[in-house]
Homo-oligomer: 224 residues x 2
């Protein structure tokens, strides 16, 4: 089986980010479906109507995971789940550190979903000595001074940053220096990193803006 063809840019065929974002939603729904009733097959039409997504969209999204269905039947639910897992690499787990054990940090440490989604928080860090040494949801909290060394020694690639804005950049620099590859930034400020380091910024304000603008528009529409 020839994987690469004449053009030498074979495997990476540009995955649309919106598709990527929808895949976990399908996944979660499929898992639920499988648990509830052991129905063997499910159609795009069905998935779409339950999740409020057009069936065609669903089909296109699933297509990129290499999933394949049968006319009149739909997709085999178990196969589809595996297909998504394979595509998203949820079979091999990635270890991560979490920095900043405030309320948000603690919430994320307790979030069950991560391990299912291939992310395993193996340690947390904080500067507060009162927290150091304790465990939350089975994850030990270390002093932040140990962070660089532990990143280096364990070869950790993902850092989850749940610290206040004023120290976010400083800690990001520290992690980059120690060789981190990606930072999931929950702090309210944008952090600057060298080229090649991946930053995913979780911005609540952005979401809030979308919500409140939609709300404002729906109110206006009613008034008309």
């Amino acid at each position: 089986m020839a994987i690469s063809d004449e053009n030498s840019k074979p495997i990476t065929k540009a995955i649309p980010e919106p598709t990527l974002r929808r895949l976990p939603i399908y996944y979660q729904y499929l898992k639920k479906t499988l648990a509830e009733k052991q129905s063997g097959y499910i159609s795009c039409t069905r998935i779409g109507s339950e999740l409020n997504i057009l069936p065609i969209q669903v089909r296109k999204d699933l297509e990129i995971t290499q999933a394949s269905g049968k006319p009149k039947l739909g997709y085999n639910v178990k196969e589809l789940i595996s297909s998504i897992e394979d595509f998203l690499g949820w079979n091999n787990v990635t270890d991560a550190y979490l920095i900043g054990v405030g309320n948000l940090g603690a919430a994320l440490m307790g979030y069950q979903g991560f391990r299912e989604y291939g992310l395993n928080i193996i340690a947390a860090f904080d500067e507060d000595d009162a927290k150091v040494g304790k465990e939350i949801h089975g994850i030990t909290i270390f002093h932040v001074a140990k962070l660089p060394d532990m990143i280096r020694r364990m070869g950790i690639k993902i850092g989850i940053l749940t610290v206040p804005g004023y120290c976010a950049q400083e800690l990001a620099d520290l992690m980059v220096e120690a060789g981190i590859h990606a930072i999931w930034n929950f702090s309210p400020v944008k952090i600057i990193v060298p080229e090649g380091i991946i930053v995913q910024h979780e911005n609540l304000a952005s979401s809030l803006v979308v919500l409140s603008k939609k709300l404002a528009m729906s109110v206006r529409a009613e008034r008309q």
Copy 2:
């Protein structure tokens, strides 16, 4: 000045969601700039290079807020900030309730940014009697049984749902029944609401997928 033209759909001229999501980022940056040095003017080029966004994109985004700049100078920082505030309606605050005072709920209750962004959490609700009556960051916690009545009496439009997945739908139904207009859903399940109710689903799995896919691709690119 004629606002409405021949087609009778004048004011609402389709705001791109990506633009909406970037506006708070500009806003935050501008606030920081203003605080650091009282520089009167700033250009798109400058903003763009600092935030890693193309200058043209910045200009188009700012354009829809009605902001206007001067050639060779750029935009007046204070004017620009006001312009964004006006556009996003951050001058008149919207009251909201938060449901589910776990770690995440508590984190959001303490998040300073919300009030700045026009959202005011005026009360929280939980089913745990140990929490009821207490205050977190100045916000009182009530028993969830009082939720419907209080939504009705206060005319609350936004509900922030930070409960576990298994009870999210039930509480959403409760709120809809009581007349809520919009739900900001932080629970890990998709909730179903009647037409006309706005739901903004904050999905950590989606973000994680984007991050880890980018990471996987950058690793693969290095190997080549």
